[in-house]
Every structure is written in C-alpha cells, then in structure tokens.
C-alpha cells in the first residue's frame, strides 16, 4: 500500500520583523531583507500509509499544531518537502462557516460550501447525518438556539460522515458527553476499516496507545522518534514524569431513581440504586474503592438460568468488563459490589437481564437498559502517584524470597 502522506525534512520558521515598516519593505522586489527567524519545526520526516493511524505527541509548544497546519495547507512550509496524496479533512475546521441564523440543516450545507466539500455527497448522506447528530426537531431550528453540546454534535456529525483520505483529529474529540464520544469512536473505527488514514494529536497517552499504529514524538520543534508506539510513549512519559491529563472535578451526582420501571410480561427491572462504601447514593467513586449496585427485580415467568449483567464501557467505547450473576426466582434484590480498579475517567453502563441456554451456551437477552448513566472514577493524576498505569489495575501479589 502506498503512502498517503510523505514528509521529508520539513522545516518551518516564522519571520520576526523589527517593525511593520520592515515587513512592508520586504514585499518590494530586490530590497534587502531585515528580519530574525524563529524556527518552529526542524527536519521532520515521517510517512502515513493508507489506513494507518498515526499519532503525534509532544509537550505544548513542541510544534504539533504547526505541523498539522502545514499539512492542511493553512500555513506554508519554509523548507523540505511534503506530499499529500488525496484529500485531507481536519477537525481543526470544526464548526467553520456556521451561521447562527440558519438551521442545523442549512448550516450543514452552507458550511460544506465554505469548506469546499462535495455537496452531492453531503446531500446523499443527510439522513444518516441527521440520525447521528440526534438533534431531533432542533435539526431544523436556527443554531443560535442550540446548547454548546448540540452545536458540537452537529459539527462532528458533518465531519464524521465525510469521505476523506486523511482525517486529522485533535483534542476536539474529547467534547460532548460520554455517549456521543463512544459513538464518535465507533464511527472512527468504521472509517479506519474503510481505509481512511488518521493523524491524531493528543496528550492522552492511553488513547494514543489504544488507537495508533505508529507514533511521532516531537520535542522543542525537533523530531525525537517515529515508529513503534510503545517506545514513543515510553520516551514521552520518561520525559514528562506525569501520566494523563484528565483532572477530574468532583460533583457528587446522585444515583437515585436511575431506572424508570420496566416490566415485561415475563420479567421486570424495578429499581437500581448505586451506593458507595458509606451507603451514600452516588455515581462517583475514588479509584480503588467500590460501588454497590442494588438491583430490584421481578421474575414472573420461570427461566432456566436468569442472569443479571452490568456492562461497562469507557469513553472510547471499549468494553471494559461485563459483571454478570445468576439471579434466583424467590428473591427480590441483588446487591453487586464492584471495586473500581480501573483508570480514572467516565464509564457508561448498561443493565441487562439475560438467559443463558445451557445446551447451546447461547445468550438470549430478555430485558435491556442501554446507557443508564455513567460512573466516574476519580483520581488526581497530577498530584498523586497512581497505583497502576494503564486501563486496569490487576489484583497482584508479590513475595520476596
């Protein structure tokens, strides 16, 4: 497979003029030029193959954004060369050309015009796009009536339905609620399967490790490393000595009445209460502490192996775990205590009642509650040393002899 992007020895420097008068003189041909140079990228070389996911990491001011802007054509290079085969769409452009007076639908069209997207293609995708944004009647109302979350959803769904060769993503992806983020990540995964290449800029090492094929590490305008993601992240972390940027603010959201009763003729889920170790209703939990899920159920019909299951997913829509227990017919409540030895962040959960067929070991869903809410695992990564690094802390034992 060929390269979609090939960058060779790319250099960018900004001219710093002493005054605006010097700058103006500079445009007149054959006038000697007086200015200082400030370099912000030196000798960058890397390539992105078709369908590859390449991440760019580095501290603030290391030149990541400048690099992306050059690739998009927003800034012009000073030296070296780069080739882009195919079209680039960048999330840097998110929400460009939106007019508050126009409706969501009209804005999709008008901003596609501004960004020079293929209008016929957008029209053909309009229904899919509308469903993805999930704005219901707001889709045809002026976007000045939108909340900021709705605005982002509209903008994101436009971008995620384009058909570029390269897709550039930056921190913009970490907007919206967790359910929408999961939807976005699922869509990205799908685009990747269709052969779209990705360039991703982030500070979030775990996301980078999760998604990338290769990683480019920049530091002080220079390229430190390009290649294996684990090596790149190791070099980055060693330098940074702090992992993750997700600083979580506590809010103490209550978990009362999470379920509206759902009773089918065979089975009913009546209530779900989530409490922490002190018996207080909450959805926030400190890392390493546990939450108790108290589920009230009713089995009307006789089942062979009725099972209650809790499905946890992180914001990248990755399945973290399914906790499932068989429930008994003569009981009304089940209490499940779950220790959250997982990375700080938000986790959505589903509550299902399923039946496992003993003969075929097939799972038959009986009752499903999707995305009831989200549990927030809290940890101050900035000021404390985490007990583990990565998604999950396993229950480990150590012995010395």
């Amino acid at each position: 497979m060929g390269n979609v992007i090939a960058v060779k020895n790319l250099t960018k420097s900004f001219k710093l003029f002493h005054s605006n008068k010097d700058r103006l003189l500079n445009i007149i041909p054959f006038v000697n030029k007086k200015f200082d140079m400030h370099t912000s990228l030196v000798g960058i070389s890397f390539e992105v193959k078709k369908g590859e996911f390449v991440s760019i990491i580095g501290k603030n001011g290391s030149g990541k954004s400048t690099l992306l802007k050059i690739l998009c054509g927003v800034l012009q290079k000073t030296g070296g060369e780069y080739i882009v085969n195919g079209s680039i769409v960048s999330l840097l452009e998110l929400g460009t050309g939106f007019n508050p007076e126009l409706s969501g639908r009209e804005n999709i069209i008008s901003s596609s015009k501004t960004m020079n997207f293929d209008l016929k293609y957008i029209y053909s995708k309009m229904d899919e796009l509308e469903a993805f944004a999930d704005l219901e009647e707001y889709f045809d109302m002026p976007i000045k009536t939108y909340s900021s979350g709705m605005y982002v959803r509209l903008a994101m769904s436009l971008f995620l339905h384009l058909k570029p060769d390269v897709f550039i993503i930056d921190e913009a992806l970490s907007v919206g609620d967790i359910f929408f983020q999961q939807k976005c990540f699922a869509k990205i995964e799908q685009m990747r399967k269709n052969g779209v290449s990705f360039l991703f800029v982030s500070h979030d090492i775990n996301t980078v490790l999760n998604m990338s094929d290769r990683v480019l590490l920049l530091e002080h305008s220079r390229q430190i490393y390009f290649g294996d993601k684990h090596e790149a992240c190791r070099l980055y972390i060693r330098d940074k000595r702090a992992l993750g940027q997700n600083k979580i603010v506590e809010t103490g959201k209550s978990s009362k009445n999470l379920l509206s009763n759902l009773v089918q003729d065979s089975v009913g889920l009546l209530a779900l209460n989530i409490t922490d170790e002190n018996g207080i209703n909450t959805l926030d939990v400190d890392l390493g502490k546990s939450l108790t899920f108290k589920i009230q159920y009713e089995l009307i019909k006789k089942f062979e192996k009725p099972t209650v299951s809790l499905v946890f997913r992180n914001r990248h829509n990755i399945l973290i775990t399914v906790v499932s227990y068989q429930i008994e017919h003569d009981k009304r409540y089940v209490n499940i205590k779950i220790p959250f030895n997982i990375e700080g962040g938000e986790y959505s959960f589903d509550l299902n009642i399923i039946e496992i067929d003993t003969l075929t070991t097939k799972i038959i869903p009986i009752l499903e509650f999707k995305n009831i809410g989200y549990v927030r695992v809290l940890f101050d990564y900035l000021n404390q040393i985490p007990p583990f690094i990565g998604l999950v802390g396993l229950d480990t034992k150590v012995e010395f002899e």
Binding site: N26, I27, E93
Partner: protein, 253 residues
C-alpha cells in the same frame, strides 16, 4: 477555485440579509436616499452654481454616476476588510487569500445589476430611452470590477499589518467621490485645478458611463485605453501583493 468563488458568493449574498427586516430592499433604499439628499441640496439650495448643459436635469446627471459609485465604494470598503474579517476562516481553511477578496467584491457587484435596473427605469421615466450604444458601457463596468478587485486585494493584505487602512478607507472614498467628481460636472471646475481630474483614472470610468447613458455619445478610444490599462495594472498590483504576502499573513494572524 472559480466555481468555489461563484458558489459561495451567491450563498453569502442570499444569507447576508437574512437577519435584517427590510432585507434586500436595502440594496435600493441606500442609493435612493443618497440620491434624494444630493439632488435636493444641489438643485434646490445651491442651484446657481451647478448648471449642466443641454437641458439635462441635475438629478439625472447625478444618478448616472452616483449609483455605480455607491456599489464601487462599497465593494472597496468590504474588500479591504475581506481578510481581516475572515481571519477565523483563513486560520482553518486551505483556501487562497485572493478568493476572500474576490468573493467580497463580487458580492457587492451583484448589487450593480439591481442598481443598473433602477437606473434604466429612472432614465426611462425622464424620457431617455434605451439605445444600442448603451452596450458600450459594459466595458467600463467590467473594468471597474477589476479595478475595485485590484485595490481590494492590495489594501486588504496591507491592512493586516497596518490596521490604519480600514480606519482611513471610508473617508478616503468620500474624498475620492468629490475629486472624481461624482456630484458636480467636471467642466465647472476652474481650469487651474482640472489637471487633478484628468490624472485620475477613475474620472474616465464615470465620465464614459455618463457620456453614453445621458448624451448618447461614443466613447473616445483614449478613454477605453485608460480604462483597460489602469484596471489591468491595478489588478496585477493587487494580485502580486496578496500572493506575495500570503505566507506572511498566515504566519502572523
């Protein structure tokens, strides 16, 4: 790129009046009000000084020049702001800078069609009917567009580094209106000052429009020469400046 410009100019034009109550009628109201003010002041209050020959009323004499002038000066006004007011787009999109200036000037020149219709109707009411010679004015109008585009590209790119330009351009255009001259006949100017008028290329644009539409004259070849050369020169200077400064502008916004 041309397709992009046309597509966006049109949709911007359609959307630009969306939030104003009188919407598109502003295209007509604005020039009409100016026309009323000037013709009242000059034909009623200052009557004796202005005396256009051949029995043509002052209002007609004025309208032929001032209506295109309003479009022209609006085009330059908006064109000068075309880069500074679109910084948020320029920072994000890979679209050459000249496109923004062209879009803005073109959008204003779309009004020219409306204004010309108004003008033809007005002339008709005053007993001046259509003649084939009127087709001659197509050349001055096309040249006027490229002249405005050239100035806009030049000023809009310089304006990024010297924001004084967007402050000064309004009053400079006002001054130019009196210098060209738009509101009074050029031959009443004292002989000693007439060279100022003759050295100004804009005079030839508006005078040729006047000559054709009111007096039904042919346009002098010398006029044509001045129109074509000056508008081409202006356009070339503007395009050169904006492409030369493109990298610098993108670096500094």
């Amino acid at each position: 790129m041309l397709k992009y410009i046309l597509k966006n100019t049109f949709s911007d034009y359609v959307n630009s009046y969306k939030s104003s109550f009188l919407s598109y009628s502003w295209v007509i109201i604005h020039p009409l009000l100016l026309l009323v003010i000037y013709s009242f002041v000059f034909s009623t209050i200052l009557q004796p000084r202005v005396d256009p020959n051949n029995g043509i009323s002052y209002t007609i004499y004025l309208s032929v020049a001032i209506l295109p002038w309003i479009v022209f000066s609006n085009a330059i006004l908006q064109g000068t702001l075309s880069i500074s007011s679109n910084i948020y787009l320029i920072k994000k999109l890979n679209i050459p800078l000249y496109v923004y200036a062209t879009k803005e000037v073109l959008e204003q020149f779309l009004n020219m069609f409306v204004v010309l219709l108004l003008l033809i109707g007005f002339l008709h009411l005053n007993g001046i009917s259509f003649s084939v010679k009127w087709l001659l004015v197509v050349v001055p109008f096309i040249c006027l567009f490229f002249f405005a585009l050239g100035i806009s590209m030049f000023l809009s790119s310089i304006n990024i580094f010297f924001r004084d330009i967007e402050k000064a351009i309004g009053i400079l255009l006002q001054m130019m209106m009196w210098v060209v001259p738009i509101v009074y006949p050029w031959d009443i100017v004292p002989k000693d000052f007439q060279w100022v008028i003759f050295y100004n290329p804009l005079f030839y644009f508006f005078n040729s429009i006047r000559e054709v539409l009111i007096f039904n004259h042919w346009i002098n070849m010398k006029y044509y020469f001045v129109l074509v050369v000056s508008s081409f020169l202006m356009f070339a200077i503007g395009l050169y400046t904006i492409t030369k400064l493109e990298s610098d502008i993108r670096d500094s916004i």
